[in-house]
């Protein structure tokens, strides 16, 4: 199969006999936002780890545009054009914002001068050029997230995996994030996987949504289909609605 997408094919992972992912099939097509939702511990981050080479699948495979990614290190995968962010930012807190982006450019083979120019252009593109000289460790939460996204976008990856980018953001900040993700798809032609707890945000922006529960994809479809799904309501949102959380 030679589809143009980043795909997980029947991926299974278990930790000490505990199934974290079971037979997961998921496609991240280019220039689309694919959503991945599911309760805590459903295996969302494990799936991102598998897709980016941080975790080898016990069974199944990951392919990018038809190419099997087995045995490629996380850095090798990054160089092939699959970038990710982490739940907890993981910036170099002692380095300036600009240096954080530059070091990625340098690591991917640019000279310092090229990396600096690229990093400046990226900060400008995201709209945080004013933060360039700030030390990353002292940034507010939301800025830290945007810098992390900027770092992941260095060298225009084909696929971008965002692990809970909106956690802790206010509604307005989440709106800014939505606008940014839309631009990443439209202007950088990036295929985005969005992992989020903020279901409103996911329903708002995603073209296609997968619902993961206890390591299995229990449903996938358009936002409307997900909203209407009895299974999803039961397994995931129902519990939240009962707890007074998000009501669809």
């Amino acid at each position: 199969m030679t589809s143009t997408a980043l795909s997980a094919r029947n991926v299974s992972v278990s930790f000490d006999g505990l199934k974290a992912l079971a037979n997961v099939v998921l496609d991240i097509p280019p220039q689309r936002v694919t959503g991945l939702i599911g309760p805590n511990g459903a295996g969302k981050t494990t799936l991102v780890n598998v897709l980016t080479g941080f975790q080898a699948p016990d069974e199944g495979s990951v392919t990018m545009d038809g190419k099997d990614m087995a045995g490629i290190t996380s850095f090798g995968i990054r160089r092939l054009g699959i970038a990710r962010t982490f739940q907890s930012g993981r910036l170099f807190s002692e380095l300036s914002v600009l240096d954080n982006l530059e070091v990625t450019g340098v690591g991917l083979g640019l000279s310092r001068r090229e990396a600096c120019a690229k990093a400046e252009a990226m900060l400008d593109w995201i709209g945080i050029a004013s933060l360039a000289d700030r030390i990353a460790g002292g940034l507010p939460y939301t800025d830290e997230r945007r810098v992390a996204i900027g770092r992941a976008l260095m060298m225009e990856p084909k696929y971008l995996l965002l692990d809970e980018p909106a956690a802790g953001m206010s509604a307005e900040e989440a709106d800014d994030l939505i606008a940014l993700i839309r631009r990443i798809v439209a202007e950088m032609k990036c295929g985005v996987l969005l992992i989020e707890h903020n279901i409103g945000l996911v329903l708002n922006i995603c073209d296609h949504i997968h619902v993961l529960d206890s390591g299995e994809i229990i449903e996938d479809g358009s936002p409307a289909q997900i909203k209407a799904s009895e299974k999803v309501r039961h397994a995931y949102m129902g519990t939240q609605a009962e707890a007074g959380g998000v009501v669809l």
């Binding site: 996380s74 850095f75 990054r78 160089r79 993981r90 170099f92 807190s93 002692e94 380095l95 240096d99 530059e102 070091v103 990625t104 340098v106 690591g107 991917l108 083979g109 000279s111 310092r112 990396a115 460790g137």
Partner: protein, 304 residues
């Protein structure tokens, strides 16, 4: 006024040595969480490299007779080479070991180096005449200052500026700073681990060589124990400065140098032989006040 100036130069030149030593230790600690106790033996090794191996009481000066323009790069290269070699032969194998294991490996390496020098040169200190014309005095604002002190301080400032420029402006410097903070993350972003670590060892070795040259010129002797006292104070300086913080190491190096010289002056005559007790007392007070060090890196907290 002139007395004050003299004290200032004493403090700065002693502090310079400690700062250079602390920097050498902090650089390595930064990239691989190793407190390298062999650093003092690198200093001794570089000084002995001036001599021809012999166990006679009189030193047979060999490399030490080379013209300055060749001698300095040669000794710096020996320091860098020894340091890089110890990383390749010893420390690389402990890359994933816990810090205590690495520290003990560094002690062992130090013993090997020391005994190697003992075998070749015997334990007797030897005198050496290295740039003895630098002991002449120059007059600065009425105070008579040994030329060597002025040169030591100048060299240290030049080294600090050069190193800062290297870390800030070059790609290797950027990679080194990133790796020092979060090695795993830096590797993942494509920073070449071995290159960064070898570079840190090379710079650290050159700093040791620079200290060796200054010590040999200052004391006119070559002694197996030579690097020991500097290494000890330098290690304390890296702790006070905040382990992993390069500016912290340098500042603390100068502070300890300053405190030593100051106590030598202000302590009553009967207490002066116990100067070091007072200095280390101040060190303890400082650590009680700020256990994480003066300039603890933000990243250090989550890592411990």
């Amino acid at each position: 006024m002139t007395a004050l100036l003299q004290i200032l130069f004493d403090a700065l030149s002693l502090g310079s040595l400690y700062a250079l030593g602390a920097l050498g230790i902090a650089l390595i600690f930064g990239v691989m969480r190793l407190v390298n106790f062999a650093h003092g033996d690198y200093i001794a090794f570089c000084v002995f490299a001036l001599l021809w191996p012999s166990i006679d009481a009189a030193a047979i000066v060999f490399a030490g007779n080379l013209p300055t323009i060749i001698l300095i790069p040669l000794i710096l290269a020996i320091g860098a080479g020894l340091s890089v070699l110890s990383e390749i032969l010893v420390f690389r194998r402990f890359r994933n070991a816990n810090p205590a294991t690495m520290m003990i490996a560094s002690f062992a390496l130090g013993y090997v180096l020391k005994n190697f020098l003992l075998m070749l040169f015997s334990s007797r200190p030897k005198s050496i005449d290295l740039w003895s014309n630098l002991s002449q005095q120059v007059e600065i604002a009425g105070a008579r200052i040994p030329l060597l002190q002025v040169i030591t301080i100048t060299i240290t400032i030049v080294i600090l500026i050069a190193l800062t420029a290297f870390l800030k402006r070059t790609r290797f410097g950027l990679e080194m700073r990133a790796a020092a903070e979060n090695f795993t993350m830096a590797r993942m972003l494509g920073v070449k681990a071995n290159r960064v670590i070898m570079l840190a060892f090379a710079i650290s070795g050159m700093l040791a060589a620079a200290i060796g040259l200054i010590l040999a010129t200052q004391s006119g002797t070559v002694d197996i124990q030579m690097g020991m006292s500097v290494m000890l104070v330098a290690f304390i300086a890296t702790v006070i400065g905040g382990l992993g913080s390069l500016p912290g190491a340098v500042i603390a190096g100068f502070l300890i140098g300053g405190a030593s010289v100051l106590m030598q002056v202000i302590l009553p005559l009967e207490a002066r032989p116990f100067r070091d007790a007072f200095v280390y007392g101040a060190v303890i007070a400082c650590l009680i006040w700020r256990p994480q060090g003066l300039l603890a890196p933000k990243s250090a907290k989550q890592r411990v």
